[in-house]
Symmetry: C2
């Protein structure tokens, strides 16, 4: 049983982070391959043809090549289910739907916010540029949604991968000094302290 | 048991279409509510606060409000599973992962293509504007991926919601006269003939 995870060489992709955390939470050992996105390696063969969508992250599991982070985490949760392995998604149907709703939104919406508060600003160098009106509307919606859902250490009772993904979105605001209610700051900072997240963040340290 | 589906008043959203087709394929009766996105109704209360993400489509099922189309279709497939109801996702784990990979990619990637070949150009008025270089690269990747996956009437043996979603992306090219290999054109056109898809398209007819 062998896993390889292909990530970006900066370890900046929040989607690569999501899968990295998922594999780590499940205790599944994996090798890492890094790809220089700025050099466009992923847009050319062989990766472009190997990976169906030509995007990272990719999981290679015993020859099965899969991209799109939420497809990967769903696959891992099915192939390595609770209770033997840590659950990535809530067990109850409505909570699981909420987790998927959040993941879908964080990946396909909120683009102005994702652009103006990119992960380089979270992981490497914060920005002083104020949010545009459009990005502020996105930030307002994120905070409103988080205020509805956050009521303890984890969104859905136990930890789920949606916690890591939502914390990432909140850290885009927190690290850059945009106003975030203390309760949500505490939630996001506690999620950031998880050993699996700390292991990802450690990749940013210079050797 | 009551379902309401909230869609855009133009019936142009490919994500609203996906959920509409899913409900119809499952034979689940639902009422429709339309929302005028251009008037920004969704960005204000009450919808903005009811719908967590303030986006359409939304499914309201016995009071449970859910947005993000793939979260909705996953929920429907779990709450109303095969074999009693038509399956929306493949039963086998690797095929199901591929279906999710496709759905994720079509929703979060390919933005230049989605902008330059928007659904209004598919449903209402084709465009003569040639694809930009960036959008052409997206089109090339879509065609490459489809050529790998399409080998019969449906991607994964039986019909799945990924067929409808991929056909939508291909129709963005086909309807606007961009080159698409005949085999993929036939696939996408056959998917467009499904009664569930035809019912959605009929909403575009003037009364
Ligand atoms: Ca700042
Ligand atoms: Ca909660
Ligand atoms: Ca044309
Ligand atoms: Ca196939």
């Amino acid at each position: 049983m062998s896993f390889k995870l292909v990530v970006d060489s900066l370890f900046a992709s929040p989607y690569a982070m999501s899968v990295y955390v998922a594999l780590t939470e499940k205790g599944l050992p994996f090798s890492l391959e890094t790809m220089d996105l700025e050099a466009g390696v992923h847009r050319r063969p062989p990766y472009r043809d190997l990976a169906l969508t030509g995007r990272i992250p990719a999981l290679v599991h015993d020859g099965f090549v899969l991209t799109e982070s939420s497809a990967i985490t769903e696959y891992l949760d099915e192939a390595f289910p609770a209770p033997q392995y840590t659950a990535l998604y809530p067990q109850e149907i409505h909570r699981r739907a909420r987790a998927r709703q959040l993941q879908g939104w964080l990946r396909s919406g909120l683009m102005p916010l994702r652009v103006e508060r990119d992960t380089e600003s979270v992981f490497f160098r914060p920005t002083n540029v104020p949010l545009s009106a459009e990005a502020q509307l996105c930030a307002d919606q994120v905070i409103r949604a988080a205020e509805q859902l956050v009521d303890g250490a984890h969104l859905f009772g136990q930890w789920s991968i949606a916690d890591t993904d939502l914390a990432m979105m909140l850290q885009r605001l927190i690290v850059n000094g945009d106003p975030v209610p203390p309760r949500l700051r505490d939630y996001a900072d506690a999620q950031w302290q998880r050993p699996s997240v700390q292991r990802w963040l450690a990749h940013h340290q210079p050797n």
